[in-house]
């Protein structure tokens, strides 16, 4: 029972962490692209 719970928790944690990392990296890249757009348009 304990091993099963550990396995399920590990799966949930790793998949959530990976999904979150993709989300965070996407947000950072989008922010950098937006900053570049603003810079090229002369906006502050």
């Amino acid at each position: 029972m304990t091993n099963m719970i550990i396995a399920y928790v590990l799966i949930a944690v790793l998949l959530t962490a990976y999904g979150a990392s993709v989300y965070v990296r996407s947000r950072q890249t989008d922010a950098a692209l937006r900053a570049l757009d603003a810079d090229e348009d002369g906006r502050p």
Binding site: N3, M4, L10, G19, V22, L33
Partner: protein, 255 residues
């Protein structure tokens, strides 16, 4: 003499279409297609994972010898399946990149390699937890376990290679690594046939093998992880495309 002043009408030229977004690598990655598709895949995968979890914990019968530890199998096998699928995508995309030299194939290979490593990590974490109950030890240098560990190490090396330098030469080198690495997958699959191994062979047949409720649970879990792979893959590939856009724009500014 009178001059007739003709009403002068200057036809306004439409403003030059400035592409806000460069064309996506594939049409499915464009905002109009990808955003709704990602929402559908996210909802579907989370719903099917919830069903699979319920089936694994309450619907599938308790295995007589291993007890609840056997339930690890319902997510261990789908993790292995997605790992193989992901590395299969790396294999195909790497071949396409070497033939065509298009950045989109390189991005597809990199995105799928990352997913493959995540799911193979799950295989290598959940397998020993099951093995401790079934075999009395977390790890043994069994043919299937060893070949799976080698596969994981090859693709961790692949990702490391990609993180060291981002150049066309490195992409080609990574593509060759991605192709060679995949040759290990049939070896893993057939290892239980070719060598004496402790790892069980999966039997999903009408005669013997898994109990029908166990088979149904496994199939739902396989579907849930396949949907999850689709969702994550779409998000990861869009990220890679945007990163390449950013790198190209920054290089253009500096150049």
């Amino acid at each position: 003499m009178s001059a007739t002043v003709l009403p002068l009408k200057i036809k306004e030229e439409p403003a030059a279409a400035v592409p806000v977004e460069p064309a996506p690598y594939w049409r499915v990655l464009g905002d109009r297609a990808a955003v709704p598709l990602m929402r559908v895949l996210a909802a579907a995968s989370l719903a099917v994972i919830a069903i699979a979890l319920y089936m694994a914990l309450f619907y599938a019968p308790r295995e007589a010898t291993m007890g609840d530890a056997q339930r690890i199998f319902y997510f261990h096998v789908p993790s292995a399946w997605i790992g193989f699928l992901a590395f299969g995508v790396v294999f195909v995309a790497s071949i396409m990149y070497l033939i065509k030299g298009e950045a989109r194939w390189d991005a597809l290979a990199l995105s799928s390699a990352e997913m493959g490593v995540v799911f193979t990590t799950l295989v290598l974490l959940t397998g020993p937890l099951w093995a401790k109950v079934a075999w009395g030890t977390y790890w043994t240098w069994d043919a299937r376990l060893t070949t799976t560990l080698i596969l994981w190490m090859i693709y961790v090396g692949y990702l490391r290679l990609r993180s060291v330098a981002d150049s066309r030469r490195m992409s080609r080198l990574a593509a060759i690594t991605g192709i060679i690495g995949f040759l290990n997958v049939p070896l893993i699959y057939l290892s239980v046939v070719w060598w004496r191994t402790m790892h069980p062979t999966l039997l999903v047949t009408n005669e013997g093998g898994l109990e029908p409720r166990m088979t149904q649970t496994l199939m739902v879990a396989l579907l849930s992880f396949t949907l999850l792979y689709g969702w994550f893959m779409l998000a990861r590939l869009r990220l890679e495309q945007r990163r390449n856009q950013l790198a190209a724009r920054l290089a253009a500014r500096e150049g």
